[in-house]
Amino acid sequence: MFINGMGIVFAGGSGIEKFEGALAGPWVAPNSHNEAGLPSYQADLAGAGRQDLLKKIRRADKMSKMAVVAAADAAEDAGLENLAAHRVGVILSTAHGPHVTTFKFLDGIYDYGEEEVSPITFSNSVHNSTCSYIAQTMDIQGPTLTVTQFFHSFYNALSLASLWLADDRVDYALVGGVEQYGDVLSWIVDQKLTTAKDGMIKPFNLTPTPQVPGEGAAFFLVSKTAMGKAYCQVDDIFLGWDADRAIKADIRVIDSDGMAPDESAYLACGSSGVPMAAYSPLFGSMMSGSAFNMAAAALTLKHQRVYPNPVADNPHNLPLLPKDFGVDINRMSCLRFDCRGEAMGAHLSRA
């Protein structure tokens, strides 16, 4: 399976160029603080392109809007036009779904009573409303699926995309991850986890990693064969930590971002000596952050360019990716541990 196109919406803007610029640049502090002073990385759709699409879905919530922009960008990036003429499927992963809209619906019950709630808000509070907007705006008449499994939501979606392609269920799949920031969730994670009060996620601290909530959408257009400007190949998606296999990677991208109270499982990755990278400080903590880290890995393979760790605090002396990493980069491993210490990830190689 090949990654042929990518679309990204994150706090740094929208589009691959913006994301690549963030990867190449220095760490940037969170762009928002709520009334309680808690930091967050929030996407600004006003500056995004695709205003034509956004106008079509003006009633949609921000989660859907971010996903629609990222999905449309991924298809365009791959050069795939007129999607109705192709067999395209959509698999969307999200850990928490449209929680902001769900709470808005609960506000309706509280403020107006159970008989006076908004049907539009209710419709948008359903997890797969985002997929519906993607299908409607892009005229995709293939299978659409929304899945969740907290930490492993994205890799499960990616795995399923590869099976859809192998089954000849679709010729192309748009697979992505999306999360929306919300004050309620921000309050919850501040209560349950360690918030980086200075706004800096230190992804190699691990015990714990301080978190800063993020939001955004990252989509990939994948197919069985490489299209014109494929980023990389997805060799396999694995469940369970396989040290023997993982050691073959040139670089390992880990998803540590403070969304689990203890991320020490990643320490095991250091023993292999494979240089480690983590890009969560650029887009924030979110369980679907795996999609953003995988996008960084895909860019690394395609451009043969090393993106240094944006925050390189290294209390455990892990083998971090050096800025002057000089060898050919042929193989990358992306990895996420869940709060039970179970790993899931993907192995990527040059297209």
């Binding site: 109705a84 928490h96 779904g97 929680h99 769900t102 709470f103 619906f105 609960l106 506000d107 019950i109 509280y110 159970e114 008989e115 006076e116 709630v117 908004s118 049907p119 209710f122 419709s123 948008n124 509070s125 359903v126 997890h127 797969n128 409303s129 997929c131 519906s132 907007y133 299908a135 409607q136 892009m138 005229d139 995709i140 008449q141 293939g142 299978p143 659409t144 699926l145 929304t146 899945v147 969740t148 499994q149 907290f150 499960n156 795995s159 399923l160 099976l163 859809w164 192998a166 089954d167 000849d168 269920r169 309620v184 969730l185 309050w187 919850i188 209560q191 349950k192 469940l239 039970r340």
Partner: protein, 391 residues
Amino acid sequence: MKYEPVVISGMGVISATGGDLAESLSSLEKGQRNFLPKATLFPTSLDFPVFQASSLPDRYHLEGRRSISLALCAVDEALAEAGLANGLDGARVGVCLGTTVSSQLNDQKFYFTLRQEGAAPLEPVDRYVKMELSSYIKEKIGARGPALTVVNACSSGSDALGVALSWLRHGVCDIVVAGGADELSHIPLCGFVSLGIVSPSPCAPFDKNRKGLNLGEGAGVLVLESQSSAKKRGAPSRLRLLGYGSCADAYHLTAPRPDGAGLITAIHRAMMEAGISPEQIGFINAHGTATPDNDKVEGKVFQQLFGEKILTHSTKGYTGHTLGAAGGIEAVFAAAFLREGWMPGSAGFETYDEEVGLAPVGRKTVSDATHALSTSLAFGGNNAALIMGIE
């Protein structure tokens, strides 16, 4: 592409029809409709009939996680029939379940307290995080394969079975526990009432005078495995899950596409995977929610693909619309009807509707069908179709 057949080696179900498959079949055979005039699981002023799973044993009770309680009940029954009640015996077992309610952080007491006081006890959040549906079931039964929760609204259960089919065909695991589970919740009740599609009387799928759906709850779970796995374990079964198809309408957030194009594509795909033609479909367990739009689209499509004589029924007149559980429950029922050789009358139907174009079976009907189709149409416009067979 030719794949090894996938065997249905165990089934479990709980809904308003009963606490297990035997009890459910008995209710269905008698045409018993166990609805309540209004919900009793939560305080509400909304006077609409609902179908509650009142026979859920106390031992399955989990505070604030009723969907998971329902799932566990159905999973236990399915594993017992599959001969796996005493452990999974080293097999690679995956779990894929569909839901709507249990995937949402929507505890009203928590949220209203937080909203009013700026802080709230976090137990509901802990339950939500620690009891993610498929992960929790995976841990509970000691499975070592993948776990995934499908949140595709009302087709979630059918889509979860489709995921399971893919996992098995590609050797991701040997056995999958798959289906759907959803509790009756105040939030969707308010939402569906706001959309004006809830019937003030017991629902009447495909009837000319239908007034909308009733909400229900339950879980339907199948143990699926490759034929070689079932043979190796000495767990023979005549039932098969033969095909799955899915297709988006790309039309509207809540209404089905009027020409049914997405549903037609999904059914064609499922038949192609099953390697059968339309005339081999013995009966259809329709989504049949009793909303004006849904039944009209399904009626048109079934008539077009199978002719107006095709034996069709909806079991939602007995279960209510169980949302993410519906696809799982109806797959269990369709497979059970194949095995039993009969199907129940479609409860609530009295008057033929020309716009629907077909009349569902009115009473218990004996059938020697070898293949059954089960359909699910979801909010968001996804359509799913499953084909079960019996040897």
